[in-house]
């Protein structure tokens, strides 16, 4: 195997160019190097102006998502040797406005997150003096999977609905809503249902399942959405179509 590999990077300098362009850089292709190592090599050794986000280098901060050969990936977990002999094409995450080089605008998601009330909603809060809420390991495992999200945005980048309709609230936000709905301490699912049953909410999802496919933490947003649709449909049925009360 060749010990060098070419990275084809999307560069975008809005003050100089109207459209992104591609530039090629040759980096070492070491067995233990991930795409992020290649990018840092370029930044440190070849071109100090290359802009991209990263932080923890261990797949937990969710900063370094990019499009690698057309697929959304965490670049700290994507090995260069898997793409040998190259070249490897690296672009910003799709479906987001590009600010510069590999950096995208994410404020839309931050706003969406807050709309689904990602905290425990209670009619009555429990005083601290009474100790913690009780929750058995089984109750906890009901929603734990949906709590693993690292907000890396790969699911939005992969989502065909979000690409057509940026108002769609999107996979991670719905999975997060479900994380709280299924939490035995929470009493806010009704409030969240009102938000999510709007057009941009769950009904927009066509269940393509791309989000679950690309999720690096196995959160399964598609499963969350599907389950939510079912719950929401049953709730509607119960209130409108089956006035005598459903099972």
């Amino acid at each position: 195997m060749d010990d060098r590999i070419t990275l084809r990077l999307a560069r975008y300098r809005p003050e100089e160019e109207a459209e992104p362009t591609f530039e090629e850089y040759e980096v070492p292709c070491r067995k233990d190097w991930v795409v992020l190592d290649g990018l840092n090599y370029i930044k440190d050794q070849l071109d100090g102006t290359l802009s991209f986000r990263w932080s923890c280098r261990m797949g937990i901060c969710g900063s370094c998502g990019m499009t690698v050969n057309g697929e959304p990936k965490l670049t700290c977990e994507t090995f260069l040797t898997d793409y040998a002999p190259g070249p490897v094409r690296i672009e910003p995450l799709q479906n987001f406005p590009v600010i510069r080089d590999l950096i995208v605008e994410m404020t839309d998601f931050m706003q969406k997150l807050t709309t689904i009330k990602p905290w425990i909603v209670r009619d009555e809060e429990r005083p601290l003096a009474e100790g913690e809420y009780r929750q058995t390991p089984d109750e906890m495992s009901e929603y734990m999977q949906y709590s693993m999200c690292i907000n890396c945005m790969l699911c939005y980048a992969a989502c065909p609905v979000y690409s057509l309709d940026p108002k769609f609230i999107g996979p991670a936000a719905i999975a997060l809503a479900q994380r709280y709905n299924l939490d035995s301490r929470d009493e806010g699912s009704g409030e969240r249902l009102d938000i999510l049953s709007q057009h941009e909410g769950i009904w927009a999802c066509t269940f393509v399942g791309e989000c679950t496919e690309v999720c690096p933490k196995d959160v399964d947003p598609a499963g969350a959405i599907q389950r939510y649709k079912l719950d929401a449909a049953l709730t509607s049925l119960k209130s409108f179509l089956l006035p005598w009360g459903a099972r």
């Binding site: 070491r30 233990d32 190097w33 280098r57 261990m58 937990i60 510069r100 950096i103 931050m110 997150l113």
Partner: protein, 606 residues
């Protein structure tokens, strides 16, 4: 004169990790306007990487636990150099801070009857760490962020603070630039809280993320604050050593809490060879007793792998130096051996340590349920930082507060695992409350615009020097600094090497003055690195000077030329302050005696 954007807030918080977010929550609850500036995006701060848990004497797993034991453990772990008042407040308030986080939505592993589960960790007498698997930091930050986003805090993401602004003696704001455009913003505030976290990027091998460059203590130092305990840098005993690209990444102490053991290349469990006198009575006599302890036997004493981090790191270094290390220069950490004891060991490991399982499988191609890991010490945490008042978290500079890793005092000479997350919650809350109080009691100060312009000019210098001969980019300088600190002011230190480090720092400072960056100010990583470099050099000098001054070995500070403890230094802090002539001054200060009731607790638990 350029006109910069100005933002007004009652309280300005610098940093979006656990301490910054917790401070924002309480300041905002106090009814003042809060701005929060962060170098990264919300939710990405280094706190997300914390793994093992939050130490709090809830007594859910062992009812014998209580604040007094937590206090005594923290003081013993810190070799009694801790600020005892902070240790007291921390031990007393941590349980409520955890329950509060739980009530806001944080998910925790649970006991069978639904209470928050607690796990064993080094130096804690009882299972004390509230946790969720080995991703507690992520959950903590998420809970703070999710519950905090609706509080009306103005969050400025990807802004770097370059200077604290003063009016007379008082801090009245901060100057920053945003990474996206490179435009300068003046934050005008009645109180400023520094919550910038750690300094790990000063060293070559570290568990810290790119943003841990010591900005907070450096900014505070230049604004006149005192730094203490800078000589105490925690080298976490277990970082990954292989492959090279991930060297330094953290392997949680939870592995040892769940029964993981350390062996050298001959298969010898070397941690039984050297037990420090402070801990002999609390440490298991046999491997069998140690195992029983990890499985919750209340009669058993802890295995030596769960001694404090400073000691475990030193033992590992000894094994490696004396030629008994693993192939890639570490030692072996084995959790797979528990299959001799548990029939469902593989599932158990994956359930208790899912992130570790994933990390080693993906990055090192090692299945930790079947084979041992290779681990070695990694720069992890700064016990030192901004000296603060224990109750209010205010520094000696009026209006300037600090909380979390960038503040000092709680941990003394060595921090116990799990005490950092509880530190963030307890003192983040206090800093937020008292900064809000300060903001209500004081009028806004006057911004000195000449000072602002001077700082702006200095920050932009790297762009001016493009054609100047002899200038170089920031990365090589940063790399040389990291290598030098690792070699000369690392785990084991000596006078001659540290003197050389001081000379080296001066030389690096000269290179940093001529640093050049290409491109423009928009998202320019080279420029960011050049700005970070100034902070790293300040902190590097502070650590080196404090380490030279402490002529003994204690806690995380080990000197080959002074291998023993010096009784005369047993209750002395090394204090660092910027002198009138701009040079760094070091002085020794005796720690006030503990009040009788705290002293009695320490004696009783000895």
């Amino acid at each position: 004169m350029a006109v910069h954007e100005t933002r007004e807030h009652d309280v300005l918080i610098i940093g979006s990790g656990g301490a910054g977010l917790r401070a924002a929550t309480s300041a905002s609850a106090a009814g003042v306007s809060v701005g929060l500036v962060t170098k990264c995006l919300l939710g990405k701060a280094h706190t997300v990487m914390a793994e093992g848990g939050i130490a709090a004497a809830l007594g859910n797993v062992d009812e014998r636990d209580g604040w007094k034991t937590h206090f005594a453990d923290t003081m013993r772990g810190g070799q009694y150099l801790n600020n005892w008042r902070m240790a007291e407040l921390h031990a007393k308030e941590a349980p409520d801070r955890v329950r509060e986080l739980e009530a806001w939505g944080a998910l925790f592993d649970r006991t069978k009857d639904g209470r928050i589960l607690q796990r064993n960790f080094g130096g804690h007498a009882y299972p004390r760490l509230a946790h969720v698997g080995d991703r507690t930091g992520l959950e903590m930050l998420r809970a703070l962020q999710d519950s905090g986003v609706h509080l009306g805090v103005d969050i400025y993401m990807e802004y770097t603070v370059i200077e604290l602004l003063k009016d007379g003696d008082r801090v009245i704001g901060a100057l920053s630039y945003d990474r996206e455009k490179g435009a300068f913003t003046v934050f005008h505030a009645k109180a400023v809280i520094i919550a910038t976290g750690g300094i790990g990027k000063l060293y070559k091998i570290t568990s810290n993320s790119w943003d841990c460059t010591g900005d907070g203590p450096s900014l505070a130092y230049h604004a006149g604050a005192e730094l203490i305990d800078m000589e105490f840098v925690q080298f976490h005993p277990t970082g990954m050593v292989w492959p090279p690209s991930v060297r330094g990444l953290l392997v949680t102490e939870g592995v040892r809490g769940e029964g993981g053991i350390l062996r050298n290349k001959d298969g010898h469990r070397f941690m039984f060879d050297d037990i420090p006198p402070l801990y002999t009575d609390q440490t298991a006599d046999s491997e069998e007793e140690g195992w029983r302890y990890t499985q919750g036997d209340k009669e058993a004493r802890r295995p030596p792998e769960l001694l404090t981090r400073d000691h475990v790191a030193r033992c590992i270094v000894r094994e490696i130096k004396e030629g008994r290390g693993s192939p890639h220069g570490g030692v072996f950490l084995d959790i797979s051996w528990i299959k001799e004891k548990l029939s469902d060991a593989e599932q158990h490991i994956k359930r208790k340590l899912p992130a570790m399982y994933h990390q080693f499988k993906r990055l090192a191609d090692i299945d930790i349920t079947k084979e041992p890991m290779e681990v070695g010490p990694t720069t992890h945490y700064a016990m030192g930082g901004v000296r603060v008042d224990a109750d209010t978290q205010m520094s000696v500079v009026p209006g300037l507060f600090a909380a979390g890793e960038c503040a000092a005092g709680l941990h003394g000479a060595n921090r116990l695992g799990g005490n950092s997350l509880s530190d963030l919650l307890v003192f983040g809350k206090r800093a937020g409350e008292f900064a809000a109080q300060f903001a209500r009691d004081n009028q806004a100060g006057q911004v000195n615009h000449d000072h602002v312009e001077e700082a702006v000019r200095r920050t932009l210098e790297p762009f001016d020097d493009v054609d100047e001969a002899g200038g170089e980019g920031p990365y090589q300088i940063q790399e040389d600094l990291q290598a030098m600190m690792q070699d000369l002011v690392g785990i084991v230190r000596e006078e001659e090497e540290m003197e050389r480090a001081l000379v080296g720092l001066e030389r690096l400072r000269g290179r940093a003055r001529r640093v050049v960056v290409s491109g423009n100010r928009a998202y320019n990583p080279g420029w960011h690195a050049a700005v970070d470099l100034g902070h790293l050099l300040t902190i590097g000098e502070a650590i080196t000077r404090a380490a030279l001054e402490r002529r003994e070995s204690r806690g995380a500070h080990s000197r080959s030329d002074h291998p023993d403890k010096d009784p005369a230094a047993a209750s002395v802090n090394i204090v660092i302050k910027k002198g009138f002539d701009g040079t760094m001054e070091t002085r020794r200060e005796t720690i006030p005696a503990m009040p009788a009731e705290l002293q009695a607790i320490v004696e009783e638990m000895k």
